[in-house]
């Protein structure tokens, strides 16, 4: 099984981070949520590996804010 790579892989992190925030400029919350959903779907398809995607979902849930309810 392939393992998700959590080392720093993006060469210009500040530029990417700004790209991400800028993409949401002028959008209301609903449209922002939809933009994020599109991004997730596009990137997930690019990855294409169910094992990696599953690990990404697990990691994202583990790191969600303290006190957040996590279903068993």
């Amino acid at each position: 099984m392939q393992c998700i790579d959590t080392s720093a892989r993006i060469s210009r992190p500040d530029d990417f981070y700004q790209m991400l925030i800028d993409a949401h400029q002028g959008l209301n919350d609903d449209d922002s949520m939809k933009l994020n959903a599109k991004l997730v779907l596009l990137l997930a398809n690019q990855i294409g590996d169910m094992d990696i995607l599953g690990q990404a979902i697990d990691l994202a849930r583990e790191c969600s804010s303290p006190g957040a309810e996590i279903a068993a």
């Binding site: 949520m33 959903a37 398809n45």
Partner: protein
């Protein structure tokens, strides 16, 4: 119970008189005269079993019920000799299209018969009452089946080797014993309630309007589904063609509605007009509002009472998995009851129905739950993902497979069934144990016709034979290359099929010992436990 005011009548059958003898019995008593009970009755009739069918109605009901019959159901009905009528009367279709908002081009389309060169089509649409009528006509040929209309079950007692029913008919009561009682008595199953049993699962908070309307217009025979069309602000819509110029129009309504008001003609008309336009004359066949559930019983076999169809499991209608799932139950159960009644199999074969029918129900429930969650998002974020998929799908191929307007009924496989003999050879393709036979032309015949309803040993030459399984040798046909290829069958190899045309096992180099062991396993008589 005779005529019921709230149920529309397609065809009167007349109440059956009280049976003569006081002490009644049958090998199998089927409760319910819908498509599942009648299919099971016909299958058992053809196997020579003695059957009584108790239907509380004395007519075939009309109204909006099942309309989509999938290829696997047609294959089953073909084995029973009624598919020809169904296909001649029905509207044949293979293609489904999905539309979004006001876009004219479909987002996505699918083909329900990806493997061509098979006898039966991917789907037909046909009103359920026609299917019931054909089955009842076919049953009339069998003196070993007694269809009793207007006979309602009011009591049930379980015994060691039979179940006893109390039946109310013609103002009197009588009792009848069945070695086996099969409850095909629908979603509100009185038998399930008499045993104090219930469903487990989810109920969805949504309502749908079904408008069956009649109009004459040339449109392609395809399933058309819309997400958020301009003519329905509340959500999705579906259009299906039925015989006799009847069309099924289906509109999502949302949860908080006035059900009585929704089916008033003046309130239905704007929905219909929105979909078909202002210039088409139409008339009402039947309007109704429904909610749905995705639930099943924990077990389908309870001593001598067995549940099949809606009495055992319920799904949302998107996917045509209700009636088709029930017909699959009847197909799975008939040969097992037959072998048990002939003394060739024991309780373990009946228990395999419980296992396999639950695998089928769970796959149907899983698919219909996912479709429903896509169509009716339950949270803001699931709405956002749904809308994201629909918007991406119009431009990008990768998003189209996510579009879920109902995953339509396909046959379910049981790769881990205790009746299978697992592969010992390496197979490149073919049909794995626990999967249904794949059809192929053989000269002027079809493979599924040749399989019939017995155990069959299909060989590709060689001298493998098996007592208790009818031989079908592909080398005795001129044009068998498609079948050989579809099954990946090397010369001298063999497949063992069950009476419901599922693969029980397959071998590159079969031996008598292996084949006999596999046949015993397929009858539930293996000494080995569940894999």
């Amino acid at each position: 119970m005779a005529h019921i005011a709230s149920i529309p009548v397609y065809k009167a059958l007349g109440a059956s008189p009280l049976p003569h003898a006081d002490d009644q019995s049958a090998e199998v008593v089927i409760v319910g005269g819908g498509p599942v009970g009648l299919t099971l009755a016909l299958d058992l009739a053809q196997k020579g079993r003695q059957v009584v069918v108790l239907s509380k109605l004395d007519f075939i009901p009309a109204g909006s019920k099942a309309i989509c019959f999938a290829k696997r159901s047609l294959d089953i009905m073909d084995r029973l000799g009624v598919s020809k009528q169904m296909i001649e009367k029905g509207v044949v279709w293979n293609v489904g299209k999905v539309f979004h908002a006001d876009l004219e081009e479909p987002l996505y389309q699918f083909d329900m018969l990806p493997v061509k060169g098979q006898k039966n089509p991917g789907f037909i649409n046909l009103q359920q009452y026609y299917v019931e009528e054909y089955l009842i006509d076919a049953l009339a040929e069998y003196p070993n089946v007694d269809l009793r209309c207007g006979h309602e079950v009011t009591g049930l007692a379980q015994n060691e080797d039979h179940a006893a029913l109390t039946v109310s008919a013609a103002g009197a009561q009588y009792s009848i014993k069945g070695n086996w009682v099969v409850a095909c008595d629908g979603s509100k199953s009185p038998l399930r309630q008499m045993l104090g049993l219930d469903f487990e699962g989810r109920i969805f908070e949504d309502n749908f309007l079904i408008a069956d309307v009649k109009f004459t217009e040339e449109r392609p025979s395809e399933r058309w589904f819309w997400f958020d069309p301009p003519f329905n602000g509340a959500g999705s819509a579906l259009l299906h063609k039925q015989p006799d110029d009847v069309w099924r129009l289906d509109f999502q309504l949302g949860w908080d509605i006035d059900r009585e008001a929704c089916i008033k003609p003046e309130n239905v008309e704007p929905y219909v007009r929105g979909m078909i336009g202002d210039d088409v004359e139409f008339s009402e066949e039947w309007y109704s509002v429904y909610t749905f559930q995705c639930r099943r019983m924990r077990h389908f076999v309870h001593d001598r009472v067995i549940f099949a169809g809606d009495s055992a499991h319920l799904v949302s209608p998107f996917g045509a998995r209700g009636c088709n799932g029930g017909i699959a139950d009847a197909d799975n159960l008939a040969w097992k009851l037959d072998l048990a009644l002939r003394g060739e199999a024991g309780q373990s074969l009946i228990d395999s129905y419980n296992y396999e029918a639950i695998v089928t129900a769970d796959e149907n429930i899983l698919n219909s739950t996912r479709s429903t969650d896509f169509m009716t998002p339950k949270s803001k974020v699931s709405q956002a993902f749904r809308d994201a998929v629909l918007e991406l799908a119009s431009k990008h191929a990768f998003a189209r497979p996510f579009v879920n307007s109902g995953r339509l009924s396909t046959p379910v496989s049981y790769p881990r069934s205790m009746l299978n003999t697992l592969d010992q050879d390496h197979w490149d393709g073919g049909v794995a144990p626990g999967s249904p036979a794949l059809d192929a032309a053989l000269d002027d015949d079809w493979l599924l016709d040749l399989l019939g309803d017995e155990f069959v040993l299909m060989t590709n030459g060689g001298d493998a034979r098996l007592d208790g399984a009818r031989p079908v040798d592909l080398t005795s046909y001129q044009a068998a290359d498609v079948a050989v290829e579809r099954y990946g069958l090397p010369p001298g190899g063999a497949y063992l099929f069950r009476p419901d045309q599922y693969v029980a096992g397959r071998w590159h180099a079969p031996t008598n010992a292996k084949l006999e062991q596999a046949l015993a396993a397929a009858k539930g008589n293996a000494d080995h436990a569940v894999h």
